[in-house]
């Protein structure tokens, strides 16, 4: 699967990653009475006032825009949880804390459309920014170890947006290292440089972030 915005590089744009994130389920508390909605992706509802119901994020936002519901922020988007995550994130310099795969996008969407439903929005937002910064710094310091012997990079618990940011760089860097470390170049065999052996998957993988 590749994004549509850049056909050559097969990367996603941030907006495309956000689009994918809108399929995540979220709890809403409707304030109107409505029958079940029959969508291609499933049936949602029925909606009864003050009875929480699970819907995809895009539907939640659509209802929120018409002020027909209140969005319940997910469990991880609370000050206590995020403070805990930030602390753990700082304490463990070699691993990432488990957060939802789309946490960057979901929080952004909620802040844009349902700010009043989030308790303590300023603190939550700055915590999220801090967590993202710490995590990205970890990615960068991990990438410094990238070398010619790296054939794959393992990044456990990395979120969609974070992967998306470093993807073009990692791909190019690995290509460069692979090219310059090939047997033909370094050991100087007589064969042509271009005829590089296809990367075999059996080589031991280097774990960037051992758990």
């Amino acid at each position: 699967m590749a994004g549509q915005s850049n056909l050559q590089l097969s990367v996603f744009s941030a907006a495309e990653v956000e689009f994918l994130a809108e399929d995540e389920q979220i709890d809403i508390v409707p304030n109107v009475r409505m029958d079940t909605l029959h969508m291609i992706c499933g049936d949602y509802g029925p909606f009864r006032p003050q009875i929480p119901v699970k819907v995809p994020l895009w539907l939640a936002i659509a209802l929120k825009k018409r002020s027909k519901c209140r969005i319940q922020p997910p469990d991880w988007m609370t000050v206590e949880k995020l403070t805990q995550v930030l602390e753990d994130e700082r304490e463990a310099p070699r691993e990432f804390q488990p957060l939802p795969f789309h946490y960057v996008e979901i929080s952004r969407l909620l802040f844009d459309h349902a700010r009043e439903d989030i308790s303590d929005p300023y603190l939550v937002r700055s915590l999220l920014e801090d967590i993202r910064d710490v995590r990205f710094h970890k990615v960068e310091s991990g990438l410094e170890n990238l070398s010619a012997k790296t054939h794959a990079v393992k990044l456990k618990n990395l979120a969609a947006m974070e992967v998306n940011i470093v993807r073009p760089f990692i791909v190019r860097a690995l290509q460069c290292f692979y090219k310059h470390d090939s047997e033909e170049l370094v050991k100087q065999s007589a064969s042509e440089v271009e005829s590089q052996a296809v990367s075999s998957d059996r080589v031991p993988r280097r774990t960037l972030r051992p758990r």
Binding site: S147, K179, H180, E184, L185, V193
Partner: protein
């Protein structure tokens, strides 16, 4: 990475290198500006583009002198501090040319020198690519080779795109059709 349609690959082959002819060649005096008749003599030193040098060397018609940017002096400089060496003015296709020279030169250390250079400069590129300012062209780009610039740009562009997405206000784009006013009288 190198392919038939790769423009950078083609341009790298345009770089001139100096070769020494092992045999006399008739009718190609155009290659050697110093020749009086239309021939290149045996032992003549001639600057030719890399794509021609590759062929000449494969046919044993000439042997190659490594260009100045692979000389011992540059290698020493690179050992001192890889991040500061200005590759761009020396040869914009430093790695591409280097890789193509490996099979036709006798210097067995060239390949490992290229790898050493890449490894040394990679960390610099990594740390600067993701933290560079969005608008201005960073100074570091002036010393990067073409291959390194692409790596740098890849990191910088994706970071810029993310930052733009984060601060961007309204994301819903209005379809052009919706904005138009309906004409008062339809035909």
């Amino acid at each position: 990475m190198s392919s038939y349609y790769d423009l950078d690959d083609l341009l790298a082959e345009e770089e001139t290198v100096s070769v020494v002819f092992r045999v006399a060649a008739d009718g190609v005096g155009i290659l050697d500006p110093g020749s009086e008749d239309n021939n290149v003599e045996q032992g003549a030193k001639v600057d030719v583009p890399l794509w021609l040098a590759q062929d000449l060397c494969q046919r044993q018609a000439a042997f190659i002198n490594l260009p100045g940017y692979f000389s011992q002096r540059v290698r020493k400089e690179m050992q001192a501090d890889p991040g500061c060496v200005d590759i761009r003015t020396r040869c914009p296709y430093f790695y591409g040319v280097g890789c193509k020279l490996v099979p036709i030169t006798n210097d067995a250390t060239l390949g490992s020198f290229l790898l050493y250079t890449l490894r040394g400069r990679y960390k610099d590129i990594l740390s600067k690519a993701h933290s560079a300012a969005i608008s201005s062209t960073p100074k570091v780009m002036q010393i990067l080779s073409r291959e390194e610039t692409m790596l740098f740009q890849a990191g910088r562009d994706s970071m810029t795109a993310f930052k733009r997405w984060r601060v961007e206000g309204t994301r819903m784009e209005r379809a052009a059709v919706l904005g138009k006013k309906r004409k008062s009288q339809e035909l």
